[in-house]
């Protein structure tokens, strides 16, 4: 397929040094239409790598190609049409008086017509389950609603790829479920999702592929079931209880509690 612009994000041997410390030491990976979990202990370079994907950071060495576009030759605003980035703390982006205007900010920056902007806002709010919130003030929403609003703000720009930085941290169970459903629907709509998280249960349930960073290097990149065969403790991570239970019971690779229940029902 040489010479043809590939429809994916390609990270090629990226090195990045910050304040004299080499944070990324030659990382290569890809993101296509899939959910990729980016995991690793604190300070392993997860957020630094993610910020390379939409051009917020440019590699010192190596390159990042977004559908063939080199991030060093394009501004973040240009790349925002392709790659959406939802930051960890959603409050850091809210500044409008109403939810509607907040979501409209991104599409307006793309220079779309008023009708198109309105369509996209309604669509994005529906996609995250926030219909009817248009007139509310962003800061008056609950934690989970804020997180979903942040996703809607980026989703309304219809980027092909979405980066979600710790989208479920600090949320209660119900709010977390809503965010998970939103992420699943993103994949169904054909988005590539990069999910930065410490929550191994989330990785188990959602990820198609896992990229594990450790001290600025990629130490694993592969399917989620292979990932959980690793000695995760070595990287400061814990294997989910659910998986340990299902292994002891000998029912194979289980991703959700419901699947375990189903498998056990079969025992009669």
């Amino acid at each position: 397929m040489r010479g043809e612009p590939k429809t994916m994000i390609a990270v090629e041997n990226v090195h990045f040094t910050y304040n004299g410390r080499e944070v990324l030491k030659g990382v290569s990976t890809t993101l296509e239409n899939e959910i990729v979990a980016l995991v690793g202990p604190n300070g392993s370079g997860k957020t630094t790598l993610a910020k390379h994907l939409n051009g917020l950071l440019k590699p010192n060495r190596g390159r990042v190609l977004v559908d063939g576009m080199d991030t060093r030759e394009h501004t973040v605003a240009e790349l925002s049409r392709k790659v959406g980035y939802v930051f960890q703390n959603p409050e850091k982006m809210f500044f409008e008086e109403t939810v509607f205007r907040e979501v409209a900010f991104g599409p307006r920056n793309l220079g779309l017509s008023d009708d198109e902007v309105e369509d996209r806002v309604r669509w994005a709010l529906k996609a995250v389950g926030l219909e009817g919130f248009e007139g509310r003030t962003p800061y008056s929403l609950s934690g989970g609603e804020k997180q979903r609003l942040a996703i809607a703000c980026v989703l309304a720009m219809k980027p092909k790829y979405m980066i979600l930085d710790e989208p479920t941290t600090g949320l209660d169970g119900r709010a977390e479920r809503m965010v998970i459903e939103t992420i699943v629907s993103l994949r169904e709509m054909g988005h590539g999702v990069l999910l930065i998280t410490h929550d191994m249960n989330l990785v188990l349930e959602l990820a198609d592929r896992v990229v594990l960073l450790f001290r600025g290097k990629k130490v694993f990149d592969g399917k989620v079931d292979d990932f959980f065969k690793l000695q995760l403790r070595r990287y400061g991570l814990e294997k989910p209880e659910l998986l340990r239970l299902s292994e002891k019971l000998g029912v194979g690779f289980i991703r959700k509690p419901e699947e375990l229940v189903k498998a056990l029902e079969g025992w009669g």
Partner: protein, 253 residues
């Protein structure tokens, strides 16, 4: 990058009591402002660099590097004086002299900040009679500058990811665009301030009438000698300026 200026060292200036240094700083500023003869200001500037080097163990190059941000102001001063003052050669000399004074004021500030920890300066001011609450406010304010800087950058990153471009548009458009950064920054700052006040009160801030310090400061012999030295310096400077009439040139009339 924003960082504190303090350089850890065991020089003479480092070992002085912060009160001594605050008084010395004030006297030095007065002395700087007494003279406007370019030859005297040049001499003072050299003396100050030497003091920083010998008594503060700060390299000459490092001292000059800190003054770099003042360069645009210095150039402006030197160029402006000959324009507004006649004869022009005299104006140029005044320009140089005032630029040097500017650099001296910068230098004395940097020497103070490089040889004294932030909390020592605050403690010094409090011991000199400043209310503790005010001292704490100043030190918290200084402490949060780097934090706010990081926060601003992060907010800008978040908004850039939503297609926000600071660089586009005329001045009015740009100012309006800044609201996308200023509002989240304001909200985050207010929240932090609120949380900080809760944290302070939960640690019984203001419960005792008279404050004691964990690391108390004490005036030693060298402090009194240094103070004496500063007072002598002030006296000499006043004598030279008003009795001998040297070092000051009347600019107007």
């Amino acid at each position: 990058m924003i960082h504190t200026f303090y350089r850890d060292s065991e020089s003479f200036l480092h070992s002085l009591d912060p009160r001594t240094k605050i008084v010395g700083f004030t006297i030095t500023v007065i002395v700087i402002l007494l003279f406007n003869d370019p030859f005297v200001t040049a001499l003072l500037f050299t003396l100050m660099l030497a003091t920083g080097k010998v008594l503060g163990q700060i390299g000459i190059r490092e001292q000059l590097k800190l003054l770099k941000p003042l360069i645009p102001l210095v150039i402006f001063t030197i160029l402006l004086w000959p324009v507004i003052y006649k004869p022009r050669s005299m104006g140029l000399l005044f320009g140089v002299s005032f630029a040097l004074r500017l650099l001296e004021l910068g230098l004395v500030t940097f020497i103070l900040l490089m040889t004294t920890r932030q909390r020592e300066i605050i403690q010094g001011f409090v011991k000199l009679g400043l209310p503790y609450e005010l001292g704490l406010t100043v030190s918290i304010g200084l402490r949060y500058i780097p934090t706010l800087y990081m926060l601003t950058r992060e907010i800008m990153d978040a908004q850039k990811s939503r297609g926000w471009e600071m660089e586009k548009g005329n001045v009015i458009v740009r100012i309006r665009k800044m609201s996308a950064v200023m509002i989240p920054l304001l909200v985050a700052s207010l929240k932090t301030a609120h949380e900080l006040s809760i944290a302070l009160e939960s640690r019984a801030f203001g419960a005792g009438k008279k404050r004691t310090f964990l690391n108390d400061i004490e005036m030693k012999k060298r402090d009194y000698f240094t103070l004496l030295g500063f007072i002598l310096m002030l006296g000499t400077a006043l004598y030279i300026r008003y009795f001998l009439g040297v070092g000051h040139i009347r600019i107007y009339g």
